[in-house]
Symmetry: C2
């Protein structure tokens, strides 16, 4: 039996009507005889509501109890989707992370999947049922409830696809796929029909929110083909694959040096004295350090503003005073194969950026990163997208 794993994010299952719409659209695919495994996130808003309850009680809630709280979210969405499928006449069953056999380490709030024992899923698929799995959650070997951190449902989906030897893992979301840049910022965004997993990983690490980097890492590691597509239309989206189409089919693919532009805004910079213990602890504890550089005895890192309280609390608890802390930084990341190794491109890039106060630039094989003040971010993306993508086709 061909198995397809489909993941539906929080906005895709945000209310009863959306859930019913998904169930209806799935009924066609079910009757084709494919084995369907649906991984769901909590309904949009639920997670935020649960967070605000927890922070209403404690400014630094226990991670273990937070995991217990947050995992209530997927129980709600998965059982509702199961009921909606039954209404369409499709037999279905929902499983928690634990029942699905998603075994993780003990790191609450940011657990890693150690193994997948999905025999219950396989048993139910064999009975002809659609199996719905709670994304984002797992169970540790000591039977503690864990969560996989941000984007954890993507990771659950790819891990299950790998374990079940699925033909494909489809990530349904509230956009049509992966664009060349944030469609809200640029004039003529283009949907990428295909992208290599390595370039996708770079995009994801640098602000593209359609997929979580860890899920892409899994997809690369286990060779799972992932498609990002719309949960409203179910239309073809962006395929993340090593089997890129030949040049004759998609002429412009190799013509354009810059495949896409990612960005991250509203970053806060900390500069601390280098200290191995703190480095280790903070990196373990704050799972969203965006960029981190060590140079001449100081450690400089960037985080999103929303983590400020958490980081400050941690540093205070450990008795560490930052050397410096400032605000309003942004990164623009141009992503494309071989980009960082092309001196002519780098020269043209810096020339085209002369109005944007580039504070630093970093390059590697497939991306160039530019650090700049937040207010210059939007004009920089608009300009660079026009020059390197719109005008290069």
């Amino acid at each position: 039996m061909a198995i397809i794993v489909k993941k539906f994010g929080g906005t895709s299952v945000g209310n009863i009507d959306l859930i019913r719409n998904i169930a209806h659209k799935l009924s066609g695919e079910y009757h084709k005889g494919e084995g369907l495994v649906l991984v769901v996130s909590a309904m949009a808003k639920t997670t935020d509501e649960l967070f605000s309850l927890a922070y209403g009680i404690s400014s630094h809630p226990s991670r273990r109890e937070l995991d217990m709280l947050l995992t209530a979210g997927e129980r709600i969405s998965m059982s509702l989707l199961s009921l909606a499928l039954m209404e369409e006449g499709i037999p279905s069953i929902s499983f928690t992370g634990s029942q699905s056999g998603i075994i993780t380490d003990e790191k609450h709030g940011n657990a890693r999947i150690l193994k997948v024992n999905a025999f219950r899923i396989q048993e139910e698929l064999a009975k002809g049922k659609v199996v719905i799995v709670a994304g984002f959650q797992g169970v540790s070997t000591s039977k503690e409830i864990t969560t996989l951190g941000r984007g954890g449902s993507d990771t659950s989906a790819v891990a299950l696809a790998c374990y079940l030897k699925a033909n494909k893992c489809e990530i349904y979301t509230d956009v049509d796929g992966v664009y060349t840049a944030d469609p809200k910022l640029v004039e003529k965004p283009k949907l990428l029909k295909y992208i290599s997993p390595e370039l996708m990983l770079t995009l994801c690490y640098n602000g593209s929110k359609v997929l979580h980097p860890r899920a892409v890492e899994y997809a690369i590691k286990y060779g799972v083909e992932v498609e990002v597509k719309s949960s409203f239309t179910f239309a073809p989206g962006s395929l993340i694959t090593r089997n890129l189409p030949k040049k004759s089919e998609e002429e412009e693919m190799e013509e354009r040096k810059v495949t896409a532009i990612a960005h991250k805004d509203f970053l806060l910079r900390y500069i601390l004295p280098v200290n191995d213990e703190v480095l280790r602890m903070l990196q373990q504890w704050i799972y969203e350090i965006y960029k981190s550089f060590i140079n001449e005895g100081i450690w400089e890192f960037f985080i999103e503003n929303k983590y400020e309280k958490e980081v400050d609390y941690f540093l205070q608890e450990k008795g560490i005073k930052p050397i410096h802390k400032d605000n309003n930084f942004a990164f623009v990341n141009l992503v494309g194969l071989g980009l960082g190794n092309d001196p002519a491109f780098l020269a043209s890039l810096l020339e085209n950026c002369k109005d944007f106060q580039i504070l630093r630039s970093f390059n590697n094989e497939q991306s160039v990163e530019l650090l700049l003040p937040s207010p210059n971010l939007t004009p920089a993306i608009k300009t660079l997208h026009k020059i390197y993508i719109e005008d290069s086709q």
Copy 2:
């Protein structure tokens, strides 16, 4: 270590402020060195909200998926209470029904507890932690999530108290304890300081909502002493115990024949042909058949109006047409030791009820039940409470 199991119902943990209040009040008891196990229900409204989501999708949702959905509720309340205790400086940990070792049969929606393997609770108590347990839920031997039906959290609490050999099981609720009648209906309701478990059971079966009958059955079976008290004041409430105070202490205890008056309103009556299979199935499936009589080939039973759709759906599915179905019945139940065996009392009772159109009366050792039309219920209770309780002291 003296262990006390305390159960907090949905209205007691209905919002963050209430949860914080409970945590604050508990801190005094914790520091006395008692082992505290807290059983919590879902926050008031949460269960209703979850039900309405499910019924928004399906008019007859799968019980298995409904259990999955509803058990999200206690996860939320228990983790929040745990966080609130930590804020008070009290170490605590929350456990799901499964983690607590509450093993049930497979009957979704109305599972029975088969055994309790609460070793994890004991381990955490030994470490000095307050242990919070999700009420209402358990796990079947095949690892399916189950719920214990209405009032299930009370049952969880009493079952745990029994297993842990607790000194006491306290049921915290939004009233001060058990009253002689519904305080909203009668002029001078009296709080019962003590009541025997057998009389309490009769009250609970007949409409007293402070405790679930199954929990009282457990308490009787395993000899657990239960106190019903206010979660707002923590003041002494009603003790359900076989060790009733001696007459000299509570003179009026034995003077009064009628201990309390319970009632149940807005009942719907079905009359069906007797059919063993239907009888068995319906009694298994509808867990809230209030009264049921078999007589001369017909089966007559009463349910609350809210179950009408469910019952009609079931009967239709089984191809059974009721002989008769009518509405607006009520029962008044006078409860007191030896009540049903006292002909003088019965005569006086019927005389005092002559204005209330008593349709039938039933008596047993410790209660007399009167069936009457709904509109006569309130005047009947007022009158009987005045005569047999207020004026008998």
